[in-house]
Assembly symmetry: C2
């Protein structure tokens, strides 16, 4: 049987109110003598206050909900670590929800978190915010910070990378290395970051007077296998390219796998660039040229934001925190000039 505050109160011959006071470290209102006695009892009986009962009264908790698209993409664990680090520094815990790349599951998790008195949500939505989800968000008065995306909700707090510029730099890098026909493997087209990256691709092409060719663009899904199949589809559509930019590293690696299987050498025959700079990027051969996101730091910032909002310091929190990309040049791009 679990020991409750009432048990401790009885043993100590005081009221539950008094025990509550020492449990919550209210400095005043408890005599030194009494406090000591209660503290001892708490230790002796290993009393742990029920967070549930407490939550029912206070409507608060020290739990932050975190929704991410896919745990098995190393990008997200890294982000999660950043969030967890500062959360812990401030005494908060994280409940991690893996949306499994599914809109429905994300929505279900949103409900779940709302039912459980988390004190805030950090939301890394994979797809654009659907009406269902938007509705849930607007209805809920929970503090909310978006990470790795910028939904079109006025006044919402977001931390994200300048994705457009990032992809622009990738394409520019390819261009400057003499590539003219550049394939592009996207993410899901209804995702914010994919769209931004796509714009970066288009803009760079425009700025360098390269005609856009829709045959060079093929849709992917951010997982490795999909990079493999996207590569296959691209190759069936056209063989007229010397480089491919991918919307993430996982797909780039999948694409390279396919290319190798077809006897095509990277980067000698085809150059490939990734996105994210996950650990694997520097471990595969050729080492993957990619663009790094300061993802751990982004996690830290998001966590600080949500905690500020939770603790009533929301006014000093900026709406948008935008991070700059960092092109990491390795060995998967050939100099063509």
């Amino acid at each position: 049987m679990k020991v409750t505050i009432k048990d401790i109160a009885e043993k100590a011959n005081v009221s539950v109110a008094t025990v509550s006071r020492v449990v919550n470290n209210k400095s005043k209102g408890v005599g030194e003598e009494t406090r000591k006695r209660i503290l001892e009892l708490i230790k002796e009986y290993d009393f742990q206050p029920s967070a549930v009962a407490r939550g029912l009264v206070t409507k608060k908790s020290k739990i932050i909900g975190l929704i991410i698209p896919d745990l098995t993409n190393p990008f997200y664990p890294k982000m999660t670590k950043g969030i967890e680090d500062v959360a812990h520094e401030h005494g908060y815990n994280i409940i991690l929800c893996d949306g499994n790349n599914s809109k429905e599951k994300e929505a279900a998790y949103l409900d779940f978190l709302n039912e459980h008195y988390v004190c805030g949500i950090i939301y890394n939505n994979f797809h654009n915010i659907s009406d269902t989800i938007l509705n849930k968000i607007l209805k809920s008065s929970l503090p909310l910070v978006f990470i790795d995306s910028k939904p079109e909700i006025k006044g919402c707090k977001c931390v994200y990378l300048d994705n457009q510029r990032a992809m622009y730099e990738v394409i520019e890098h390819l261009l400057l290395n003499g590539h003219r026909k550049i394939g592009f493997i996207t993410g899901p087209m209804d995702s914010y970051s994919t769209n931004e990256r796509y714009k970066g691709y288009i803009n760079a092409l425009n700025d360098y007077d390269i005609p856009f060719d829709s045959n060079l663009v093929v849709k992917g899904d951010y997982v490795m296998k999909d990079g493999y199949y996207a590569m296959e589809r691209l190759y069936n559509q056209t063989k007229n390219f010397t480089a491919i930019a991918c919307c993430n590293d996982l797909m780039a690696i999948g694409a390279i796998e396919k290319l190798e299987e077809m006897g095509i050498k990277v980067p000698e025959d085809i150059s490939v660039v990734g996105f994210d700079d996950i650990d694997i990027a520097r471990l595969v051969r050729p080492k993957l040229t990619t663009v790094a996101q300061p993802i751990h730091e982004m996690g830290r910032v998001a966590a600080n934001m949500i905690i500020d909002i939770i603790e009533g310091k929301g006014s000093k929190v900026k709406d948008d925190v935008i991070f700059e990309p960092n092109l990491v040049v390795r060995d998967s791009v050939k100099k063509n000039n």
Copy 2:
């Protein structure tokens, strides 16, 4: 303002008890007419019952706590996915706690979970169970399943790999390929799996009449960086080896990185074997020979076990479920004979 069961009851002109009945799908005790009306109101006002209040009464929840050592080791996300899959099929949610390779944090999480009425815990302890933690476990009456370890607690439920045999097969493979001086990079020596793997190493050596040389054994910590430094230390101790077995893939990859940096070729000069068969293993060059754990399946089994226990079918749950390893031969071992 959040709408409560009381609000719905008022709008529907019934008692909260009746609303509660329809919310909980109690088939009998509510008139068809009433039920319909309430259901509509619930939809209209988007009523979500408070899991917290409910938990306070029932002392149950649909949340399973999961403690893992380190999210950034791809092994654990994979396991987590397996667990989550089954959990979701049964209407349970996972609250994921990343112990960050720290005993203290694990202990803190154990407390955290106990305070929050999770209905069960799946625990992947990194280090051996300390007395503090053992105490917490014994005191708590929560259903508990250990995964990826077998603590010495009588009657505890565990699912794990036959680690000893797995490493035996690794060493045997090396031996059969003509290696006689085999280095060994361990995990933390107070971890169950490390110890078992170490025994496997020793046993194989014995069975093949290879003298044990303590200079060939060096301690690691299961992270990539540590493989790198372990390799360095090993090399400083002795240069008299042709192969190295590592207690996980991450360290194997770190070790290879160090070897390459020193101008030593894998596998031509030194052979390296990993453990776990995470995705990266087949992506690095040379492709890593390693031993696969059916980790997703292990997660599924653990989840099924805990749910069975939670739902009172604990008697049909076996104490131990042991999985067999699967040696995956790739390109990181040289034939020396």
